[in-house]
Each structure stands twice: as C-alpha cells, then as structure tokens.
Symmetry: C2
Subunit: 603 residues, 2 copies
C-alpha cells in the first residue's frame, strides 16, 4: 500500500508514530516559516505541518502543491497546538519528513466543498469531481449501507437473491421498452426489463419460495424531473402467502432499515384504503406527517345547506356550478396576511395545480369568521363549515371548487403546500403507511407514456398479473373499473416507496385479465404464453412487491432528488453528459445489426 494509514484515522493514540498517508490537497495555509496543508481522502482530513526545521527543498515542494494534487507524505504524528475537536483527527497533525507528488491537478471547474460554487450542469459534466464532495459521497455510502442491510434482513428470512436476465423480450403493454437489436438473430430484438415481474413469478412456480433481487430496471419514458431511464428496485416475491404476510414481512424490512441506518424505531405502519386516501387526502400517496384531511362541502353525500349560502349576495355561482367543493383546515393560519393569501391563490392557479380560484375563511381568535365569500354566506353558514372542517379559533379554512378530479388533485397540492408552509413536513420525521385495496384497472384515455395504440382501453393499474379481490371477480364482466385488487403500496412522507400485489396463479383468470386489457388470445399467447403455460404445471399462490431503491435512498438521505443518490445519473433528456451518451455508432456496427437509422423530418 502507498500508505500505512488513511486520512481519517490518526489521533493522539498515534502520537510519535512515523506514518505514511496519501490523498488530495484540500487547502494550504502559508505563514512564512510555518506551512499547513490539509490532506483529504474518503475517510477524513489530516493536517500536514512544515516549519523552519523542515528542509528547504521540502518547504519549496510543499509550496508548489495546488488544490487537488495527489500526494503521498511520510512524517511523524505530533500533537497540535490549536486543536479542532470537530473532527476525529483534529488533535494531531503530521510533521512531514518527505513528500511524493503522485499526480498533479489542474484547477477544478468548481470547488470541492459541501457548498460548491458549481451549477448542476457543470457538476454533471464533471461528475467524477462532484463525487469528491463529502455530501455526495455520503449519499452513496448510505446507499451501500441500505443495500447491505436489505440483503442481510432478507437473507435471514430465507430469501434467495436470484439474478434474472437483462436481455428479455419486448412486451410493450406497460411503459415503453428499451430494445436491443440482435446481431445473431436478424431483424429481432431483445428488450430490457421494466421489472423482473414474470421471471420472479416463474421462480415461484419453480418452488423458490422466497426470492429477492436488487436489480436495475429500464423504462423508456419522457422523463420528468425525478425519473431516470434506468433505476434500481428491491424486487421480492413469496409463495404460500396472503396479503397480510407480505405486509408484515416488508414492514419488518423497513423497520430494520430505519433502525440500522438511522437508529430510529418506527411504530407499526398505519393502513389506509385507496378509497380513504383519495377521499381524505386526494392522493394515493398521502403525506401523513400531518393530518389536514379534506372536508367536503359539496359532493354526492354532502348536504346542500353547506354550499347554498344564506348571505345577502344570493347564490354563489362558482359553488352552484361546481361538481365538487372541498377544503382543508390549516391550523393556526388565521393570521395569514392578504399577501400570503394571494400567494396561495397564485399557487392553486398554477397550471400544474390547475384550480381557478381559492376561497378562504379565517376563524379569528375573537370567535368571528371572515371569508372571501362573505357576500354569499352568513356567519352561521361559516360556523357550519368550521364544524365540518374541525376548525377552531386561529385556523384558516381553504376551499376549492370545480370538476371532481381536478379539484381533488388541486386540493391535494394545496394541502402539501400548506404542510410545507406550516413546517409540518420535517425531513427528519417519518410517517409510514400502507395504502391498500387499489383498483385493478384504470381507463387509458391516451397516456403519453404508453404506445398510442394502447389508448381507449383498460390498463392495469399495477400490472396485468395482479389478482382481483375474490369478492370482486364477478364485477370483472359487468363493471371492471369497480374491481379492487389485492394490491398495496408503502408510502412514506407522501412518497411511494414500494408497491406490490398478490398475483394471479390461475391460467384461466390470467387469460381473462389479458382479454379485459384488450389482448387477442394470440397476442396474449405470443407475449405471455410461457407464463400461462407455467401456471398449468402447479403454480403456488404467491405475491410480492418492489421498492424503488433510488427513491428509498433519497428518502433516508433527506433529499427530494434521486439523482443525488445515483453515482452517474442521466439528465432529463436521458443523456449522460459526462461520457456524452447516447451517441452515433458506426456504419459497420449498424450493418452488422441489420438496422438503418431513419432520419425524421424536424417539425
């Protein structure tokens, strides 16, 4: 080794020892006869020291060191005069006796500090320098630790990690596949897996009983801010289980991870049906760090007295015409200024939120209620609202009205915004939840992330292998949209961390499912015949789930961005700007693969 110790481990117990360390120059301080250099590696920083007893050549050499030079130094561990008790090596320094510059460095394009001066684009282009920053490296250390602990936990429960293939077959009924032309099979293509779903089910048919894999998956989507074309899942499957068994097993995993990586004991996970999540939070992944449930002034159940006011202004047209009127109670926000309320109105009108306006009602400390619709509603009307909202003195009621889906979505966004503004979304608080009883199907009006040819069909909410609830199977023929699935998501702080389902293990039910999804018998057989055939040879009841590992890491790391937890991420156009990929390939390669590039006319 080019060192006897790393830069993070020397302390007073090493005093007097002659050691060799190596690392990067973080900074130098030159005070004439005294010179200090901070040497950095992954493990820490050790201060090098030169003084008038150092040889003139050595001092001269030390003065040539620039930021990020790689050096090897030999010296004696001495006690520092002015100690830095914030770092483990802060009580000592190394009195250097010889130095060897292992590599020079030109000036990096941004500073290698926790708070760097480098913008996003520059940091991605020089990602290898960005990764030198403590903050980024710590994210990847956390990722490593979570992976190790996941494997240890699952291994202790007899789960086997089995690698499933990456070169598989295109089955574009879900999102778009990435495909790989086969040189040896002219005109044919492999596809990269969107998940190892069918393979893990086959492993259950094989009797593997408990399977897991931390595995790369691929989805050719139009990328949103926080999606990557390649992402990592903790993928799991179990046989001879019911939903309850899976919930318990993976609740155990998440508790283990919180315990081992953050020292937090989390309580038993709350459970909520999809229907309740939508009704009370307008969201199938509610952030339950705070309550602020929806209250409904107008819907199929609410009494019309709630929205038909008794004020002087007569009927309030916006409410009259609205399909849905619902609101939230923001505790202690009655003191919001006009400016703050205007900000909220602007917020709900943003195209991503999509409301047309915001109604508010302040429950003042003096017991009066003042609203933005006082013309239409009497104080008694507003007291009724307050009762419905559970609002008390000092609270602010915020109300949206409009078409059902749009209003629910907008109110959910507003709820999250208010949670943030009221400081209810602390990154160090974790609220974990199972959302249960998802619908089996949803109607595809034309999802841009699916092939256009799939529009105007039922689409599997989870995937085509999810089992309907036995008591809802009869509805498959009469009212497919009402069928609930044995499907579940784990949600933490409003983020969907994982999800899964009990699977179909019966060939006929699986065939029926494909039929509902608009597959002809031939298409179903061609794409998924191997799975349906496998079900004829003794398939056990089974189910499983998958966690989004990138997302899990970012949640544990207290960040909103998964990119910070991926060593070499791609940008929103799916490009790796560091290696400049994707790129053109040679005609020789295209020719061997029997494909041509068709240049599209730019619109």
């Amino acid at each position: 080794m080019l060192r006897t110790h790393n830069c993070g481990e020397l302390n007073l117990s090493n005093k007097g020892q002659e050691v060799t360390i190596a690392g990067w120059v973080q900074r130098s301080r030159d005070k004439g006869t005294l010179l200090w250099v901070d040497l950095r590696d992954r493990y820490g920083i050790t201060q090098l020291f030169f003084d008038e007893t150092s040889s003139a050549d050595l001092i001269k050499q030390a003065r040539t060191l620039g930021r990020e030079f790689v050096v090897q130094v030999k010296g004696t561990v001495i006690e520092r005069e002015s100690k830095n008790l914030n770092i483990p090596t802060g009580e000592i320094e190394l009195k250097v006796s010889s130095m060897n510059v292992l590599n020079e460095a030109i000036t990096p394009p941004f500073t290698i500090e926790d708070e760097t001066d480098g913008g996003d684009e520059l940091r991605m282009k020089y990602r290898y320098l960005d990764l030198r920053r403590n903050a980024v490296r710590k994210n990847l250390e956390l990722r490593h630790r979570l992976a190790i602990e996941t494997r240890n936990y699952l291994d202790s429960l007899n789960f086997l990690e089995v690698e499933t293939p990456v070169l598989i077959k295109s089955t574009p009924e879900g999102a778009r596949d990435f495909v790989v032309p086969s040189r040896m099979n002219d005109g044919q293509f492999y596809a990269l897996p969107q998940s190892p779903q069918t393979f893990k089910q086959l492993l259950m048919v094989s009797g593997f009983d408990r399977y897991y894999q931390i595995v790369k998956c691929f989805r050719d989507e139009d990328l949103r801010a926080d999606r990557q074309p390649e992402f990592t899942q903790i993928d799991c499957e179990m046989s001879f289980v019911e939903q309850e068994d899976i919930l318990n097993t993976f609740e155990g995993l998440i508790k283990h991870l919180f315990k081992k990586s953050k020292g937090i004991e989390i309580p038993a996970l709350a459970r909520m049906t999809y229907a309740d999540a939508m009704r009370y939070y307008g969201n199938d992944k509610p952030d339950t760090r705070f309550d602020m449930k929806f209250a409904y002034l107008k819907d199929s159940e609410a009494d019309s007295s709630m929205w038909k006011g008794n004020g002087e202004g007569g009927a309030f047209k916006v409410f009259e015409e609205a399909e849905l009127i619902a609101g939230i109670c923001a505790k202690g926000a009655a003191s919001y200024t006009r400016k703050q309320l205007d900000e909220l109105t602007d917020f709900v009108k943003r195209p991503q939120v999509g409301a047309t306006g915001l109604v508010y009602a302040r429950y003042n400390e003096d017991g009066t209620i003042k609203s933005s619709v006082d013309k239409f509603f009497t104080e008694a009307d507003l007291k009724n609202w307050a009762n419905l909202f559970g609002a008390e003195k000092g609270d602010l009621m915020l109300i949206l009205a409009g078409p059902t889906d749009k209003t629910v979505k907008a109110l959910s966004e507003l709820r999250l915004e208010m949670g943030t503004r009221l400081g209810l979304r602390d990154k160090n608080t974790f609220s974990c939840l199972w959302v249960l009883d998802f619908p089996l199907l949803e109607w595809n009006e034309g999802d841009p992330n699916l092939l256009a040819s799939l529009a105007g069909r039922w689409h599997a909410k989870h995937h085509p292998f999810t089992s309907p609830k036995p008591e809802d199977i009869d509805l498959l023929k009469t009212n497919p949209g009402a069928v609930r699935a044995n499907a579940y998501d784990m949600v933490i702080n409003g983020v969907e961390i994982g999800g899964g389902s009990i699977r179909i293990h019966n060939k006929d039910l699986q065939a029926q499912m494909f039929e509902i999804l608009g597959f002809t018998k031939e298409e179903a057989q061609k794409q998924f015949g191997f799975l349906m055939n496998a079900f004829e040879f003794g398939a056990p009841p089974h189910g499983g789930l998958a966690f989004g590992f990138d997302r899990l890491c970012s949640l544990f790391g207290g960040s909103d961005s998964i990119r910070d937890f991926i060593a070499f991420p791609k940008n929103n156009s799916g490009r790796d700007v560091m290696i400049d990929s994707p790129s053109e390939i040679s005609d020789e390669q295209l020719n061997e693969l029997s494909i041509n590039v068709v240049r599209k006319e730019k619109a």
Copy 2:
C-alpha cells in the same frame, strides 16, 4: 401464511403437534387402506399419511392427486413406523386431517428428479420446471451464498458497492457492444457495458478508494459452448495500491469464499509468470492440480542431440522439419495398450487440438524404453529423453512436433487429457494460482469476435487502461509486443476465475496507449476524452480486478457448465427458448425509435 411449517423442518420434536404445510406432490404410494404422499418444497420433503381412520372423502381426494399438484394439508405429526434416516424429516410423517388442492398440474414434460429424463433443449424450454429439481436449485442457492459472502468480506474491508450505469456509450475497441437505440435522441444509441471499467476508474479519481459491484456485463460475441451474452462479474477497484496489495486482498476473498461455502482452508496461492505458464504448461491458465510440465526436445535452447537420433533409420524427417518438439511425462502410464495409444493419437489429431501425429516412448518396468520411433533413436537417445522428462520406470513419454504455437497448444490439450485420464483432475481438489506479468499487447490478425476494421493492429491483451511495467515503458516505441503489463489472472484448476491490472493514471501515457492501439487523437478524445480529462484533475494510482461470477459459482459447484448456475440462461444462438426471445417488435416501436430493419440476403 398458508402453512405453519415448511416441508423440511418437522421432526420428532414436533411429534403430536397439529401443523399445516404446503408444497408439491413428489410421489404417492397407494397400498389399499394405507396411502402415502411425499410433499416437496424448497426446504425438503415431508411424508403425508392416510389410513383406514381417514375419512372416505379425504382418501378419495388424496387418490386424485397427480404429480406436481400444489396442496395444503393440515394434520398431526406422528412417528413413522419405518424411518428414513437419510433425510431430516425421515423419522416422522403427517397424519392428514384435511387437504386443500391449491392448484392442479398437468404432467410435466420430464421428471422432477436429480436424474431427470429431460434433454437439454426440453429443460431449457421449461426452465421453470427444471429449476424445481434439487440439483439445479442447490446451484442457485450456492450462488446466493457466494454473493452474500463476497459482499460481507468486501464490506468488512471498507469497499463500497456502487452501481454504475447500464446505458452507456459504445466503445467498440474491445469485443462487440450490444446497443440500444434512443427514442429521445434521434439516430443515437446507448451501449450496454462490457464491464464498468471506465466508471470504476472514475470512482477512483473521485476518491472512493475502494469500490466493488456484483454486476451484469454484456458482450455480443459468437457464443462458444460456455459463454453467455450477459454475464455477471464481481468487479473491484482500489486506490493507492501496488500489484502486491491487490493480490493479497483478493487472495483473501477467495480464501474466505472457500472457507465459508465449502469449509476448505486453502493455502497461499502459488505465483507463476505468464512466460513460465506458457513454457511449462503451454497455457496462460494452467491446471496445476497436477504437474506434468512440458519438456523441450527442440526449441531455441535445446541441444540438437536430443532430436537428432543415432538410430539405424537415419534422420527422422518429422523432427528435422519441426520448429518445436516438446512432450510430457505421464506418470505410471507405460502400461497403456496399443488401443489407448491409438485413442491418444486420434485425440491429438482432432481439429480442435490440431497436431499431425503423436510420438510415444514407454519406460518399461524392466528398465527398457520402447518408442514409436525406435528406428531413429537408440536406447541411449531415449534414456536422454527420460532424463530430460524426469521419466522413471513405469512412465509414458508423449511427444508432439510441429510449428511452435500450434504444437504448444496441442500439447497443452494433451496434457489436460492425460490429467483427466489419470484421474488427476478431481473436482473436489482446488489448486489456486496467480499468473503474473502478462504481455501488454497482442497482434490482432483478424479475431472474429472483434469488428473487422480492427484487424491488423495491436490489441490490448487485458484492456487499454492497463499499465505497462515501468521498466518496459521504453519498449513501447521499439518493440510493443515485448512490453509486460502489471496484469494478473487468478486461475483455479485451469479456469481463469478473475483478472485485473494496475491501471494507467497518467493522461499522457494513456494517450500513448491509444496511439499504439491505432486510435487517432480525435477518436481517442471522442470515445475516452472524459477519462483522460479526469486524469488531469488529480488521479490516484489505482488498480483492480474482476472475477467471472458465473464461472466462480460453477467451479465451487463442481461443474464445467456455467449455465447450470444461471437461473435463465440463453442458448448458443443467444436465444432464451423459454420466453422465445429475441423476437420481432412492432412497426410502431421501430418508428418511434427511428430505425428500420434491413433484411439481409441469405447467402
């Protein structure tokens, strides 16, 4: 859970307990009033028992069970009358009280037994049934265990597992890349990694210090019997190290794996230079479970008295004309019959071996030596051979002659064949070896696994990032073929298990290397500019290696075939015959990807 216990854990300590188990019907025995059914799962087999006290309905139900039906049974653990002490559950059986058929099964196309009646092709098509066989499942359990132990060992040494990207950039200077058309970047392609080589080096530039990954890699090769287009590596890299540090670290890993998975303490690994491996074994991955070194009758060093015989027949033309004459001494094989010697002659003449004939000399127990070339050589000549070969009474000398490279290769094959015939290649004996000082470069005459445009150039023996030995750098300009690399392979039982090198960490040397490999400056910059630029910002000395994980598993499992250790392997045409992939994709997909398929004229 649909069970209280699995099929492998019940024993006399559970006697009298009421339990529920579930699994697959392995076989039934029906003796009229008595009926036994073996129920199997991953953990073992438990015998179910029915007798005259069982209800008529239950007996009737039990009689309908076919092979591989999936059933759940409830019953009481009782002591068996006739015990089977070969299995952990062999002292008990389950007196069944109720039974639930969870899924029926049609008759499998082959028997689910260790010795199955299914041929290779059938087993691959129904791989999910093949995986039910104990023998295959145990292979994958071993693989899981080796992966866990690898991670634990490396984790304990501060290695971080970092996931590198799968969608990268085509750099077809090595083997052929698999490529992936980018929908969002018209006419551009990603490539799948042949190894994470450049990324792990960048991680060293980033100061990650110690990296590993168990990772899928991809190579679009014409497949030989034991290659797969996707394969798994244990990929590792370390900073601030010299070759010796890497050898020690990974010698430690292999010892750990032998200890943990097989309970074997292996001794310190032997070391051999590439030059010696080629000279004494004709092979850069010699099987050192047995000695049988090459002896040279004619080469640049041997004395002509060895091959110019003093026999009555005059000069032996084959030897006269041969560039090289070399042989091996097969201990105790002097008693080989004429038939056995003919078989050996046939063996060396096979096109894969490539010799034109075989000369032998028996050192008989009576002290005489009889050879197939007695006409040309006297007994005294043959005694000289015996001295050179280290042959003793009872030994057989086998000699090949011809062009150097061809003869060395053929003799190496003959040596392995004799090792096998003499029982010297026991699968439960492990001989581990480092081969060192590989050549840096080899001349590419037209390797079919490389793009045709790369023929007639120097090619990197290991890869273009391997560091030449400092003392050989001057030869780069004058005699590139003679330059030795700081490169090493780990060889076990004649199988290359892993290999690596100390890397170049200097931009100029890396640029020189690309120049020698025939890259223009522009090509080098376009393909590897990111790496050479990274070297300017303070790259530490670093090196690493990668183990072939599939191969490692098969070696530990005592098999010659890696396919047995891959859950869903591909056949020699790169096809997955179970899912029938690769396959054609839709015009809609091709269109979105801006590519066309060009149908080639069949020759």
